[in-house]
């Protein structure tokens, strides 16, 4: 709040009202509803519901299928986060080092940001097509019987590749802007102290980039958990079957296809808790970030 702020009373209330109303109707109400219905068992034919306490949760945690999905989501998140961060960092360091063509490289490496996840998934579907996808043929030439949609590992691989492709631009932009904010004096000092470029990178550049990397870590985990829905949905052609899916996808499938309202809501609540933990973690990091810079 500004010290010299205005003292009118009705105007700020009127200004806040639209935002607060939208949030109340489309955020607090649905969130509260999810928490409430996670304690109820819905009749599949829509005739009322019974209070079952934490049964939906205990069912979920004991469910083999749910455990499998959770395990896949974990592996998927780790792989997507690692590869998209590592590749983006490599590209950002190189893009920061070159002079000629720097602008062109930057554009070519970031434009994919604008492509929607399901569109990326559709392109992936063509590249990993079972019969004549170029990448399928390449894998088969190496002796890997790659079958998208039929084989668990194949589908998972395709999901990771597409998700990484789609996420590199964001990481690249943040790493590059992090690199460019390193003061020239620091770089010059490092250049005098250490002739080896690799040594300079690990001793000076990387530690200075650490806050950006931590921040991106959270962004990437959130991305892999939630924003890849479109990629997953297109790559399994909306028919999960035996294919790997993520936790968010399961909320969707159970809630809208299986009509398991209570179970789906309980899954939503668990995901909410997960996001909460991530956010708290993120704020800790932002506090640290301030100390760094």
């Amino acid at each position: 709040m500004k010290r010299a702020g205005f003292t009118t009373v009705w105007l700020p209330i009127a200004l806040l009202l639209p935002q607060l109303m939208i949030i109340a109707i489309f955020f607090y109400w649905p969130a509260a509803w999810a928490v409430q219905s996670s304690f109820y068992l819905q009749d599949p034919f829509g005739f009322g519901s019974t209070f079952v306490g934490v049964e939906n949760y205990t069912d979920l945690l004991g469910n083999v299928e749910y455990g499998k999905v959770a395990r896949f989501t974990l592996i998927y998140t780790v792989l997507v986060t690692f590869f998209s961060l590592a590749l983006a960092l490599l590209l950002a360091v190189k893009a920061d080092a070159v002079i000629s063509g720097a602008k062109t490289y930057r554009t070519l490496l970031m434009w994919v940001y604008a492509i929607a996840p399901p569109v990326a998934g559709f392109i992936g579907l063509m590249f990993f097509d079972q019969r004549n996808g170029p990448l399928t043929q390449m894998f088969q030439a190496f002796g890997w019987d790659f079958r998208l949609g039929a084989d668990y590992t194949s589908t998972a691989t395709a999901m990771v590749v597409v998700a990484v492709w789609k996420q590199i631009p964001v990481n690249f932009i943040f790493f590059l802007s992090g690199l460019q904010s390193i003061p020239k004096s620091v770089r010059e000092a490092a250049l005098i102290d250490n002739r080896s470029a690799t040594g300079r990178f690990w001793d000076v550049t990387f530690p200075l980039l650490a806050p950006t990397a931590f921040f991106l870590l959270i962004i990437n985990i959130t991305y892999a958990l939630f924003d890849t829905f479109g990629i997953v949905d297109t790559l399994v052609r909306s028919e999960p079957g035996n294919n790997p899916v993520t936790l968010v996808y399961k909320v969707f499938v159970d809630g809208f296809r299986g009509n398991d309202l209570g179970g789906s809501s309980a899954q939503s609540v668990l995901l909410m808790l997960l996001v909460l933990v991530l956010t708290v973690f993120q704020f800790r990091l932002i506090e640290r970030r301030i100390h760094y810079t």
């Binding site: 590209l91 490496l109 996840p117």
Partner: protein
């Protein structure tokens, strides 16, 4: 770093091992070219494939080359009700996408600027409380509360309307948080001077604060437009009426139709053309307004 090594090379051409530096540069460029190809090639291959006949695409998959079907496929995708949807054309989906993109971006900017202005510039007793109420929404992305949000829209009778499509997406604090940060960085003297000159809160907002935020508005507009345009899950749930489909929502339809095995040859050319149309507008915006876009992205997420 780069210009430094070059300057050094010019100053000490004899002692400096020039060849090694060149090798480093070559490796740098090789990595960057590989990376750029990795990003560009998939879309390039989709683009060239659109110029082929459907039969060829069905038989051989993605192709590189230039045949004569490009214009026709794009034309059909835009102006003909394709086999993917019964009644609507690419033009209609493009229009819906534009409405979603612009409606979301403009709505979000207007609403969040107003809220941020109220929080930062007024001595309001519950300003902090209001901020926290709004701020909490950052915690839960729409994806984790889709089912209840869907029920809420249904019970309000807003399914298959633009309001139902756009407004729930606005219910998050990203914009408000962003403008709050920005307003706080504007010097206090500005509002003091404005008050001494007799400007009221409305005048100060419209004549001083909004013009001052122009760059920020442009930056956040690009991010929000792309975000709105690319929405998939929410439009999939909320629009069952084909007339309301966006291009990105249409992808789901395309994938489903292409997956069905039937006697007819699947219209791959048209499908790929539609996916291309779905990415062109946001891609052009990101490329042409690159500096604003980067600014918006790196500053809004902090």
């Amino acid at each position: 770093m780069a210009d430094l090594t070059q300057a050094g090379a010019v100053a000490r051409p004899l002692t400096r091992p020039r060849k090694r530096i060149r090798w480093n540069r070559i490796v740098d460029h090789a990595v960057l070219i590989t990376g750029s190809l990795f990003m560009v090639f998939p879309v390039f291959m989709v683009l060239t494939t659109i110029s082929f006949e459907d039969v060829d695409i069905v038989q051989k998959g993605l192709q590189i080359g230039l045949e004569g079907r490009m214009a026709e496929n794009f034309h059909d995708a835009m102006f003909e009700a394709s086999g993917f949807t019964k009644t609507i054309t690419g033009t209609r989906m493009l229009m819906n996408s534009l409405i979603l993109g612009f409606g979301f971006a403009i709505g979000k900017i207007v609403i969040s600027m107003m809220a941020a202005y109220a929080i930062v510039y007024f001595r309001l007793r519950f300003a902090t409380f209001a901020f926290w109420i709004i701020f909490t929404t950052l915690l839960l992305p729409l994806e984790v509360r889709i089912l209840p949000s869907y029920e809420a829209i249904q019970s309000l009778g807003l399914a298959n309307t633009y309001t139902g499509l756009i407004v729930p997406l606005i219910a998050s604090a990203t914009g408000t948080f962003f403008f709050r940060q920005f307003f706080r960085s504007i010097p206090e003297e500005l509002v003091e001077a404005a008050r001494i000159d007799g400007a009221g809160p409305v005048k100060f907002f419209i004549d001083i604060l909004v013009p001052l935020s122009r760059t920020m508005i442009a930056a956040i507009f690009i991010i929000m437009f792309v975000y709105g345009w690319n929405q998939y899950l929410w439009p999939t749930l909320i629009t069952t009426d084909e007339g309301m489909f966006t291009l990105v929502r249409g992808i789901k339809q395309i994938v489903q139709v292409l997956s069905q095995t039937g006697a007819k040859i699947p219209e791959y050319g048209k499908a790929l053309a539609l996916s291309m149309i779905a990415m062109i507008p946001p891609v052009l915006i990101v490329i042409f307004f690159q500096s604003w876009f980067v600014k918006g992205l790196t500053e809004s997420d902090k």
